[in-house]
């Protein structure tokens, strides 16, 4: 075998340069058209009238109220789903019981149901004409067209994110370590805090990031239950829509840019988390397995 024939063989194992360039160009072009361009458009449109106009659009009381409501909603929905998600994943991954497949399907339900339908469910149950409507009205409890409804709808829509992230991870890890902890005398809590939680740490952080992003960005379900009361029940995505419908393009894009910024920050955090995780893995990579000569 001569040197040149070895090289010729290696070249044949991959596609020709033209094909490689074409595929790369298609991928990059697609990304530019559908991801980079819209994102750039948001910021360009938002800043079209200058920084002061941008700033005014954000300072406007209704915009501030929308930002506040979005933050409150996420602050309630994410911790709730954190607890639910960990509990559900723990159940499904570590125990065998009847109806496990059903529970798994149920967790996925919010993914498969249209957000509008999710919102309608709450209107049907808690609305004035809904099942519990009269009782709620009697006791002066407002759920639909108020903050509780928005939180409920958001919790529903973002429910699967953390559980879905954790189930495969916990299933792969098995329950040997938990059993080992129990044999060594650890209580249930100690086992959870010292063994289970550290093992799922990265998956959990990742799930929380995704859950938070969706909680802040949810439109459909929230739109149905919100009632669009300006300054009261408008979240950021709803506020953007209202502004846009009122031909306040610049203001709409200014608020939208905040959401886009959130998405970017989320991605940065996610990348940082993954990078940190990888670094930790690398730190535990191969070291000489032998006793050092002394």
């Amino acid at each position: 075998m001569s040197h040149s024939s070895a090289i010729a063989k290696r070249v044949r194992t991959t596609e020709s340069p033209a094909v490689r360039w074409l595929l790369t160009a298609i991928a990059l072009g697609f990304m530019a058209l559908f991801l980079v361009l819209p994102l750039a458009a948001v910021f360009v449109e938002a800043l079209k009238a200058g920084w002061s106009a941008y700033w005014d659009a954000l300072k406007e009381p209704d915009a501030l109220a929308a930002i506040r409501l979005t933050l409150i909603t996420a602050a309630i929905a994410v911790p709730l789903n954190l607890v639910f998600g960990v509990a559900a994943a723990w159940c499904i991954a570590k125990f065998e019981f009847k109806g496990k497949a059903f529970l798994t399907t149920l967790i996925d339900l919010p993914f498969s149901v249209s957000p509008v339908v999710a919102g309608l469910i709450y209107v049907l149950v808690f609305g004035a004409q809904g099942w519990l409507g009269p009782w709620l009205a009697e006791h002066d409890i407002k759920i639909v067209f108020a903050v509780p409804g928005i939180v409920l709808a958001t919790v529903f829509v973002t429910f699967p994110f953390i559980a879905r992230e954790l189930i495969p991870l916990m299933q792969a890890q098995g329950s040997d370590e938990e059993q080992a902890a129990q044999v060594l005398g650890a209580t249930g809590w100690q086992t959870f805090w010292r063994v289970t939680l550290p093992n799922i740490k990265w998956g959990l952080i990742y799930g929380v990031i995704l859950c938070n992003a969706r909680a802040m960005g949810e439109f459909g379900a929230v739109s149905v239950v919100s009632g669009h009361i300006r300054g009261q029940t408008n979240t950021m995505p709803l506020h953007v829509e209202i502004l846009y419908n009122e031909y306040q393009g610049q203001a709409a894009f200014a608020v939208a840019s905040l959401l886009a910024l959130l998405a970017i920050v989320t991605l940065v955090i996610k990348t940082a988390v993954e990078w940190q995780h990888e670094r930790e893995m690398k730190a535990t990579a191969e070291l000489p397995p032998e006793r050092p000569a002394s």
């Binding site: 040997d176 059993q179 902890a181 044999v183 060594l184 005398g185 063994v195 093992n199 990579a285 397995p289």
Partner: protein, 396 residues
């Protein structure tokens, strides 16, 4: 995972270091309190599968017992029930006479070494070993300094103190195994339970660790039970071997007893290679074709279906002489690797059967036969079992 010469070295040095450890140790691993175990009529089902069927067994204090059997025989289930990781459907487990059936696993004071070690992957080796001490209730928990000293002592015991700051993923299989053992010993267990302790290791490390475990046990004298499917391992390491099959105990005895006097066809077949001859037993004789095997223990059998078990090393091979007693067979293959010659033979009368015979290589050379020749085989020693309702031959 390689055993280096340095590591080999320390296996041999192990005793000296161990003695030193004990001499210098104040907190004292030798303070392990001992415990006998009684297993009373334990039954366990998984769905419709019967994993254990009325199993009873006594284990004396300080004994090292092997639960031996094929996969699915219930040995691991039994071990997990003793540990409290599973609960029995019926029956009870007594530790030193006290019923522990309803005692929670964390109160049982057992050390359990998992098949795949189950080391805490996010903790260093030292943190792993310290875990059992750190989770103790505050009033029982030793001080940080005491824990540190204890961890160091245990890591020295398993000869891995230099790995204290590593993570489990950085260790070889054999090292993980020993760390898992150190972690289990940290809480001064009264019983040590090991699930396939050498199952995930390669043959060489396995052998070294086997010897190591035996020595460790001789020093610590903690009542220990280990599960294995490897008969060689069980026979080499254990004081007593419990042979299990299909959820019940086939035989309990010292390694020598179970090897020399297998109680059932299953034990015979499971503990090493065996040749099987089927025939009919009558008046203390087993008739196999035109060939007879003495079976004095079945003197009162009357034309009963029976089988003779003959170990390959108990099968005598001689050059064929027409008319002489013995079974004529063709020598198909002779493996001459090592000190024993392993022969594969096909009986002339039963071409479907393959017989195995082992004899010293020198002796085989003296016979002067080669592959393809016809030889005469006869058993020097045989064990005859009458056939029972369920076909024992199928179990082998």
């Amino acid at each position: 995972m390689q055993i280096t010469s340095a590591q080999k070295h320390f296996f041999w040095l192990f005793f000296c270091v161990l003695c030193e450890t004990f001499a210098s140790s104040a907190s004292g691993i030798q303070g392990i309190e001992n415990m006998s175990i009684e297993i009373r009529h334990v039954t366990k089902h998984f769905g419709s599968f019967r994993a254990l069927n009325d199993v009873s067994l006594d284990i004396a204090s300080g004994e090292l017992v092997a639960l031996l059997g094929p996969s699915g025989c219930g040995k691991t289930t039994l071990l997990r029930i003793i540990a409290g990781l599973e609960s029995a459907d019926a029956g009870s487990i007594l530790f030193s006479g006290a019923d522990t059936t309803d005692v929670h696993v964390r109160e049982r004071q057992v050390g359990f070494v998992f098949q795949h070690y189950a080391l805490f992957r996010h903790m260093t080796v030292a943190e792993n070993v310290a875990f059992g001490l750190r989770v103790k209730p505050r009033r029982e928990r030793p001080s940080d300094a005491q824990i540190k000293a204890k961890v160091h002592e245990l890591l020295s015991l398993v000869q891995l103190d230099w790995l204290a700051d590593r993570y489990p993923s950085q260790l070889s299989g054999g090292q993980r195994q020993r760390i898992a053992l150190a972690r289990a010993l940290a809480v001064q267990p009264k019983v040590l339970l090991l699930d396939e302790p050498f199952g995930a290791l390669d043959a060489k490390v396995r052998k070294e660790l086997r010897r190591w475990l035996r020595r460790l046990h001789d020093e610590l004298h903690v009542t220990s039970i280990f599960v294995t499917h490897d008969q060689e391992e069980a026979l080499e390491v254990a004081d007593r071997v419990v042979v299990m099959n299909k959820g019940h105990i086939e035989q309990v005895g010292t390694p020598q007893e179970v090897w020399e006097q297998p109680a059932s066809p299953f034990v015979y077949g499971f503990l090493g290679d065996v040749n099987l001859f089927k025939g009919r037993a009558s008046g203390g004789q087993l008739q196999v074709g035109d060939w007879q095997i003495a079976a004095p223990e079945h003197a009162d059998a009357l034309d009963a279906e029976a089988m003779a078990f003959v170990r390959p090393s108990d099968l005598a091979v001689a050059p064929y002489v027409a008319g002489a007693p013995g079974l004529a067979a063709r020598l198909d293959r002779a493996l001459l690797v090592g000190p024993m010659a392993r022969l594969e033979l096909t009986p002339r009368e039963h071409p479907g059967q393959i017989l195995e015979a082992h004899l010293p290589s020198d002796e085989f050379r003296r016979l002067g036969v080669k592959e393809g020749d016809t030889v005469s085989v006869s058993p020097r020693k045989a064990r005859v079992f009458l056939e029972t309702a369920d076909d024992p031959a199928a179990m082998i």
